[in-house]
């Protein structure tokens, strides 16, 4: 077996291992994003309850203070609200969620929770807004739990699977 074949084999193994690690990292990222979304919504709840801060200011604050994978969503909505106020918060939220869902590694059910929350965003009085935030937080917590379990069981699987499949391909090719 020549040196070139060794190098080729190594490439195949590392590529497959990389894919596996990537899949595993996505699972972790989803957990982080779901947790970040809850934290953000909790801050929003406080802002609405105690200061009645308008959404653009509240979202900007949340987007700036958190460093979770969810932070860009809040920053994006804040920016859009400032530049296109006539569109209305629900539509801007939906657009931003759809655009950033993949970045946050969110699954369709997670996205559904966010979209449903967005429909009433800013459109009612304080008590009602808080109720919607609480409902969204509860549902996100359920999603986070599921994501965490999935990450615990699947992350290692994806990592080993990547390496093993890479190795299998190399064996078959030789």
């Amino acid at each position: 077996m020549g040196g070139l074949e060794w190098i080729g084999g190594l490439c195949v193994v590392s590529a497959c291992a990389g894919l596996g690690f990537f899949k595993a990292a996505r699972l972790q990222r989803r957990v982080g994003a779901l947790r970040g979304l809850q934290a953000g919504l909790q801050v929003l709840d406080t802002e609405i309850a105690y200061a009645a801060t308008p959404l653009p200011d509240a979202f900007r604050r949340i987007g700036n203070t958190f460093s979770s994978p969810a932070a860009p969503l809040f920053a994006e909505v804040a920016e859009q609200l400032a530049s296109r106020p006539e569109t209305g918060a629900p539509d801007l939220w939906e657009t931003a969620v759809r655009r950033l869902a993949a970045d946050m590694a969110l699954e369709p059910p997670d996205v559904e929770v966010l979209l449903q929350f967005g429909r009433t965003l800013g459109a009612s009085d304080r008590a009602d807004q808080r109720k919607h935030i609480r409902v969204a937080c509860d549902r996100l917590r359920v999603q986070e739990e599921a994501a965490r379990q999935e990450a615990a069981t699947r992350a290692r699987m994806w990592r080993s699977l990547g390496v093993l499949i890479g190795a299998a391909i190399v064996v078959l090719l030789m």
Binding site: A52, L55, P56, D125, R126, D128
Partner: protein, 347 residues
């Protein structure tokens, strides 16, 4: 009296926006904004109110008359020809007013108006939500009235000869006027002129304190005044009038206190207190003439005691800020002085 022209020395930030201030313009739904922008400059310059009512034609109220806005930017006297505003147009304005955060407007909806940057105001009506006998907020908004505030005009200098008695004696002034006749503009101008010492050659500049309950007089927005009320003016923003007058009296040692739209018993009691302290008051009140004020139980004693040095009655007879008459403390109409512009036709 001819309509006052702008003073060269006063702030005129509104100019150059085609008469519709940006704070108001950006709230308008695109189709209404477009129609409004194709209106003639005369209409836009005199524009005072844009009334958007659900399922009804858009109604403009200007210094030169009123009308319903047509698609191509003309005004029609016939409602049927006007451009009809839909529920989504009203919602558009409300979204803009609240920055898409209706919950942040609860207090404003309860009071029925929102103050915009620049002292402009949006009145809002919908369905009131009442709990324990008090209005909590409003829902299902059906009508919005965007009121354009006009800056200092210099009109009070035209009135100075009637409000100042030689040699330079000034006293409390009550401006009596129905809504939309320019009483806030006149008060704002009085505050500016007295504070800057430009009012009358014999009147020295005074320290002025303003209770601006509705953020209309100074147009304060996030701590910045939009209207110049003069270099010796303090503004207490957003404070209920009665309480505000007492705070200012204690804290800012004003020589002149300015407040808009007095009416309630508490306001009058506070006003008395201020007058007793030797402070001059410039105030305004809703009413058609001096008789109306005499008929109101809360204000009547003030008139009878001669608490005010002058009464200025405004109307819209010949455009906003038509001075119907000026009366002295005993309610006698002052005559036009020789060589001067007549104040009122009956004068």
């Amino acid at each position: 009296m001819k309509r006052p022209t702008a003073e060269p020395g006063t702030k005129q930030r509104e100019a150059g926006c085609g008469g519709v201030p940006e704070a108001v313009r950006r709230l308008l739904p695109p189709k209404i904004r477009k129609a409004l922008e194709s209106c003639s400059p005369e209409v836009l310059e005199a524009l005072e109110e844009i009334r958007i009512r659900r399922d009804l034609p858009v109604h403009l109220w200007t210094g030169r008359g009123e009308g319903f806005l047509m698609g191509e930017g003309r005004l029609s006297p016939f409602p049927a020809e006007g451009m009809v505003a839909g529920a989504e147009d009203v919602m558009h304005v409300v979204q803009g007013l609240s920055q898409s955060s209706l919950y942040a407007l609860e207090e404003e909806l309860r009071r029925g108006y929102v103050t915009l940057p620049g002292g402009h105001r949006a009145g809002i009506v919908g369905r009131a939500v009442v709990a324990e006998g008090r209005v909590q907020t409003q829902v299902d908004i059906t009508g919005v009235n965007l009121r354009v505030a006009r800056p200092v005009t210099g009109i009070s200098r035209d009135l100075a000869d009637w409000l100042v008695e030689p040699p330079g004696k000034i006293g409390s002034v009550l401006i009596i006027s129905p809504p939309q006749c320019g009483k806030t503009t006149l008060l704002r101008d009085l505050a500016y002129q007295v504070s800057s010492g430009r009012w009358h050659p014999l009147v020295a500049p005074r320290k002025v304190a303003v209770v601006d309950e509705r953020s209309e007089l100074a147009g304060t927005w996030k701590g910045r005044r939009h209207f110049d009320l003069g270099p010796r003016t303090d503004v207490l923003d957003g404070c209920p009038k009665a309480e505000g007058m007492m705070i200012l009296l204690r804290s800012m040692s004003p020589e002149i206190l300015v407040t808009d739209e007095i009416g309630g018993e508490e306001d009058v009691a506070a006003l008395r207190e201020v007058l007793r302290a030797g402070v001059i008051v410039f105030a305004s009140v809703h009413g058609g003439d001096l008789q109306d004020i005499r008929r109101r139980p809360s204000l009547r004693p003030l008139v009878e005691e001669g608490a005010f040095f002058r009464y200025v009655v405004l109307s819209r007879q010949r455009g906003p800020m038509t001075v119907e008459g000026i009366f002295d403390a005993s309610g006698r109409r002052l005559r036009a002085q020789p060589g001067r512009q007549p104040v009122a036709s009956g004068g």
